[in-house]
């Protein structure tokens, strides 16, 4: 089992990093040939960066749209962030003070995240128009996240696992000094689902994570009249009069 999980996590990490790297490379390579910020848009580079930051941190546009959906999304994402911070302690030694202080918040975060996910799932099943746009993969993604959340929460609150052993296993993976993974079915479930999430990340709608940074309607500066914006292929077209 330990070997299986070791291989699984190496593979998942490689797929995640390489897959995301390729996607980001594509987004960088393909130009945005026209100025298409959704206006009113910031007039400076700093302003545009701040706009993107607001989208990333407080989900500004979603807030404009629908307060309920916004609340569910915030519960899930903020809960997840707290949980991830809590998990840092399994990957570094010694554990920094802040991370130790954050531990209890991680537990509340986990609950918040699970409640948020169930609400999002309920919304998908109940609202007719959202049901219409929901595909099998959208449901599977929620189920996967709920599975990760619930298996984790169970281990924290009820069926405690040998956390020292888990940490040793992951530190071992990171330093190529392999250790045994504690034999615990719930832990296996949790880790297998996490690996699955890492594997599907670069091929699924989770690409909204890098995507938001590259969205031209949000990251472009409104300076079309002041600065001439010309994509490389458009410059070639202008010079040769034939479309490359």
């Amino acid at each position: 089992m330990s070997i299986l999980f070791a291989v699984l996590f190496y593979a998942a990490t490689i797929v995640l990093v390489a897959g995301l790297g390729l996607k980001v490379a594509q987004y960088v390579r393909v130009p945005a040939p026209l100025k298409i910020p959704t206006t009113p848009a910031p007039l400076t580079q700093g302003g545009a960066a701040f706009r993107v930051a607001r989208e990333v941190v407080i989900f500004e546009s979603l807030f404009k749209s629908n307060k309920w959906l916004w609340a569910m999304a915030v519960m899930f994402h903020f809960g997840l962030v707290l949980v991830l911070i809590r998990h840092v302690r399994y990957f570094i030694e010694p554990v920094p003070m802040v991370i130790t202080l954050m531990q209890p918040f991680g537990i509340y975060g986990g609950l918040l995240m699970i409640i948020g996910l169930f609400m999002l799932l309920g919304r998908r099943l109940v609202l007719p128009r959202i049901r219409y746009i929901t595909g099998p993969s959208d449901l599977l993604m929620l189920v996967l996240l709920i599975g990760i959340g619930c298996s984790g929460a169970l281990m924290v609150n009820f069926v405690h696992t040998d956390i020292i052993g888990v940490k040793a296993f992951f530190l071992g993976l990171m330093t190529f000094n392999w250790q045994k993974l504690p034999a615990d079915p719930l832990l296996y479930v949790h880790l297998a689902l996490v690996a699955a999430l890492m594997l599907v990340f670069p091929f699924s709608k989770l690409l909204h994570v890098p995507g938001i940074f590259f969205s031209p309607t949000r990251n472009q500066v409104d300076d079309a009249r002041e600065r001439r914006h010309l994509a490389p292929w458009a410059a070639k077209y202008e010079a040769n009069k034939t479309m490359p």
Binding site: K23, Q26, Y27, V30, P31, A32, P33, L34, K35, I36, T38, T39, P40, P42, L43, G47, E55, F59, S61, L62, K64, S65, L69, A73, L127, P128, R129, I130, Y132, I133, T134, G135, P136, S137, L140, F203, S204, K205, L207, H208, G211, I212, F214, S215, P216, T217, R218, D222, A224, R225, E226, R227, R228, H229, L230, A231, W233, Y237, E238, M243
Partner: protein
């Protein structure tokens, strides 16, 4: 009066339950050979259209960052779902922006993503079948490219970008839309959207000059091809004869006259509109834009000003520098191009043009923010100027002004229902139904605040409202040009 049901206007907006297929029968006339070929597109659906469509999709994915980012990023949250006026007005779920995108996304998944190739249906990947192509044609011509969905999407996904790309793909496999392509053809062959020949235009303008002089006693001129004029005015051809557009044109003329700024129209650029944006064609956009550059060089003007037109202003403000710049041969003290509202408002603020509001005392105004102006451009030198400046201009010309509900104006403005290349009689049912959210907001201020008129700065909005207002029991004369108000209020003659 209509053979379809007119939507009800509610006190509080209602989001419809999806009615699948509600607008499946609404299909605008496809282009024929004679509309396709002048634009460089095949005259009919090519034999290997499937392969060709995928090939063009691949090309566009490599040219427009918006496409891969938007296609990959959507999480199907549905935040955009109830924001499209065509969904709100028709209930057809394929008019929900995300579902509209999915028509495109399913093919993208199938051919350009590992997950789609491997898992197919599970991740919503679909082959480009004839049935799907028909859906593409219908529903990508039920999107006015208004960008309202983009405002509310957490990733800024703009369905307009997707529908532009879809139309480009369809054009290139030989399935274009008649309305847009015929109009672009007219710009190439005659010089403007309406196919108005120069002689007719000159006659119209002469007649206009005589009428105004009779009315006001002032010799307001509408010059064409005057070399060395200070300003080149580029305006939608509808301004030359449609109502209430022409009243706006008269307003521009009076402002130029009163400010003593020499100006000219160009026979080479008798059209501000650039319908190539609607069909997502960079090449045709360049070709149409270059006419303006050529005209400016030929006439030796120092500034370029655009008349009241929504999408034309988006192309002008956001794209013109890219498509036909650089503009370094013009006077660097002014932005290129300028909007007529910026131009007039500035003169009024400086006192170079004076107004008497009482001339419009018989009206209470509201203002319809046109999509392309509100969400795709700017005026002035500050963020949001495109929302502020037209209102300042209206308030300077008219004592009574009331805004519609805040969720229906500014960046959240509802489309008139006729933008994006849909202003054609074969789509009248869609246009009437798509106008429902705007009509609802308008009716509210009419009933609660005594609004009598709605001003607009877009040729398409003006034409669309004139047509659809009567379906909702309102007067078509309610819709006015912003410069019509200026025209009524302007004090001609000596400025002291």
């Amino acid at each position: 009066m209509a053979d379809f049901e007119i939507p009800v206007l509610n006190e509080i907006p209602v989001v419809p339950t999806p009615k699948p297929g509600a607008t499946a029968h609404l299909k605008s006339f496809p282009a024929t050979k004679q509309h396709q070929e002048p634009l460089g597109y095949p005259g009919e659906l090519v034999d290997n259209w499937q392969t060709k469509a995928i090939e063009v999709m691949g090309e566009l994915l490599g040219k427009y960052r918006s496409l891969p980012v938007f296609l990959d990023s959507c999480v199907k949250c549905g935040s955009c779902a109830d924001k499209c006026h065509y969904f709100l007005g028709t209930g057809d779920p394929k008019n929900m922006p995300v579902a509209r995108q999915d028509l495109f996304r399913s093919v993208y998944r199938k051919h350009f993503t590992p997950a789609g190739k491997l898992l197919g249906d599970l991740v919503g990947a679909r082959e480009m079948t004839r049935e799907l192509l028909d859906d593409w044609y219908n529903y990508f011509h039920q999107c006015s490219q208004c960008r309202r969905c983009s405002v509310f999407c957490p990733y800024g996904i703009d369905t307009a970008e997707i529908s532009m790309a879809a139309r480009e793909i369809m054009d290139r496999i030989g399935l274009g839309q008649k309305y847009c392509n015929e109009i672009i053809g007219k710009v190439y062959s005659v010089g403007n959207n309406l196919g108005l020949p120069l002689k007719a235009l000159n006659n119209t303008l002469e007649g206009l000059e005589e009428d105004i002089e009779e009315d006001t006693g002032h010799p307001i001129k509408f010059p064409v091809d005057v070399h060395g004029a200070e300003v080149l005015l580029v305006t939608p051809s509808a301004d030359f004869f449609a109502e209430p557009h022409i009243d706006g044109l008269i307003g521009y003329g009076k402002v130029f006259h009163q400010a003593g700024i020499s100006w000219t129209l160009s026979s080479k650029a008798t059209e501000a509109a650039n319908f190539a944006m609607f069909i997502g064609s960079y090449e045709n956009m360049v070709k149409i834009s270059r006419r303006i550059r050529d005209a400016a060089i030929e006439l030796g003007v120092k500034r370029i000003v655009f008349g009241e037109c929504g999408h034309a202003w988006r192309v002008a403000y956001s794209f013109l520098n890219t498509l036909a710049g650089p503009w370094d041969f013009l006077d660097p003290r002014y932005p290129v191009p300028q909007h007529i509202c910026e131009f007039s408002n500035d003169l009024i603020k400086r006192g170079a043009v004076r107004l008497d509001k009482s001339a419009n005392d018989h009206m209470t105004l509201t203002f319809h923010d046109s999509c392309n102006v509100a969400r795709g451009s700017r005026m002035g030198d500050f963020e949001g100027g495109q929302l502020v400046i037209p209102r300042e201009l209206i308030k300077a010309s008219c004592g009574k002004f009331v805004d519609m509900h805040p969720d229906t104006i500014g960046e959240k403005s509802f489309c008139c229902g006729g933008g994006g290349g849909l202003l054609t009689d074969d789509l009248i049912e869609l246009r009437v139904k798509g106008a429902q959210p705007r009509m609802e907001a308008l009716k509210q201020v009419v009933e609660n605040d005594g609004v009598t008129h709605m001003a607009s700065i877009c040729a398409i909005c003006k034409a669309q409202f004139t047509k659809v207002l009567p379906y909702y029991g309102m007067e078509m004369g309610m819709i006015v040009s912003v410069h019509q108000l200026v025209s009524n209020a302007i004090l001609l003659g000596s400025n002291d």
